[in-house]
Symmetry: C2
Subunit: 204 residues, 2 copies
Amino acid sequence: MQTEGQTAEGRITKAERTRARLIEVATRLFQEHGTAEVTVRRIAAAAKIEAGSIYYHFSSRDEILRAVLERGVGDARDEVLAAIAEAGADSSPLVRLRAALAAHLKYTLRHHFSSRLKAIRHLPKRLRDHHMQQERDYAAIFAGLLREAQRKGLLRGGFDASVVRMLVMGALTWVAEWYDPKGPLSPDEITDELMGILTKGIVK
Amino acid sequence: MQTEGQTAEGRITKAERTRARLIEVATRLFQEHGTAEVTVRRIAAAAKIEAGSIYYHFSSRDEILRAVLERGVGDARDEVLAAIAEAGADSSPLVRLRAALAAHLKYTLRHHFSSRLKAIRHLPKRLRDHHMQQERDYAAIFAGLLREAQRKGLLRGGFDASVVRMLVMGALTWVAEWYDPKGPLSPDEITDELMGILTKGIVK
DNA sequence: AACAATACCGAACAAACGTTAGATTTTGAC
DNA sequence: GTCAAAATCTAACGTTTGTTCGGTATTGTT
C-alpha cells in the first residue's frame, strides 16, 4: 500500500480520494434515508473513517450536502447533454427532447434524486442561490429544445411553453416517488407514454 | 374567559381545542421548514405552550406527524370530492377531471403539501401503511374519472391509464416546488394548461 | 533513514433533541 | 365557594448532534 497517488503534477492525493469516497457514500445515504436523518457520524462510519476526520475534508456538514447536490446536478446535466448529442444535432427537436427526458428520468431514478427537493429549501442562502442557478441552467436545456421546436413550427400555439416545461419535468421528477423497479415498466416506456401525451394528448 | 367549551354532550373540551391548534401549527411548520427540522419545542413555542405539555395531547413526536398527515390527505380528499360534486354527476368525466385536478392543485399549493413526501418514507411501518392506504384511496378518485372517460369512449386508446394518472398528478404535485404566488399564473390557469396538453397535446 | 507535510484518530465540548414526572394552575360540576 | 378532574408548567433526564483540537499515524520527498 504505497505510491498510489502521485504528487508530481497530475497528482491524485489521498485526500482527494477520501473526499470523493465521502461524497459517494453521503450521496447514497442521503438518497436512502433523506438528508435530515443522515448524521456526520453515519457518513463517517459508512466511509470507514472517524467522524472527526471528516472535518479535514469538509468544513461543515452543509458543505458535504453542497458537494453532493453539486455533483448530482452536474452529472445529470452531463448525461442529458450526452443523450442529446447522441440523438444528433440534425435530428428533430422532438426526438432530442425525448432523448433528454429519457436521460433525465433515468438519472432521477438511478439516483432517486428527488432527494434534491428535501434539502434545497433549507440550505444557507449562499449555497442555495448557487444551487438554484445550477438548476436553472439544467432546466434551460429542456427549455431550449422546446423553443427550437416552436421556432421550427412543430408545435401548436396557445400554450405557455415554460409552464409546459415545468409540468413535464415535474411529472418525470415525481416518477421516482412511485416507480417500482421490479414492475413491468421501463423508464423508456414511461418516457414514451409522456411523449405520447405531448404529441397526441389522450382525448379522441 | 370562561364557559367556552361545554361538556354536556356536544362538548368541545379545552384539550380538543389545544390539540387542534397544535396540529394546525405543526402543519404550518412542517410545510415551511420540512418535517425533520421542526422540533417539539418549536411546535410548542408556536402554539404558545410549553414543550412538555405537548405530551398531554400526543404520546410522541411521530404521533403529531401522523395526525398532520392524516388530516392533510383527508382534507384534500374532501375538497376534491366537493369539486367533483359541484361539477355535477351528469357532466362529462373530463369536466369533472378538470375540476378534481384544479382542487388537488389548489390544496397542494395552499398547504404546500409535497411536504408529504419528506416524511412518509420514514414513518414507523404501521403509520406508513395506513397513510399509504389513504394515498391510494385518494389516487383512486382520479383513476375512477379517467376510467369513466375511457368507458364512455372519450379517450383514444394505446396508452396506459395508470401511468398517465401518475404522470399527471406528479406534474401537479411538483407545481408546489416552482409556483410563485406573486407570479402571473393562477392555479386554474395551470390546470387549464395541463388539460390542454391532455386533450390536444402540444404538437401540430 | 530522516523529515516535513499530509491525513486521520479519539476524546471531549456545548447545544439541542425527545421525553418523563411531579408540582401547579385552570376548569367545570355541584 | 368547594373540590376533583383536566390541563399545563417546570425542571430535569439521558442521548445524540455538529464540531473542535491536540496528538498520532501515514505519506511522499530528499
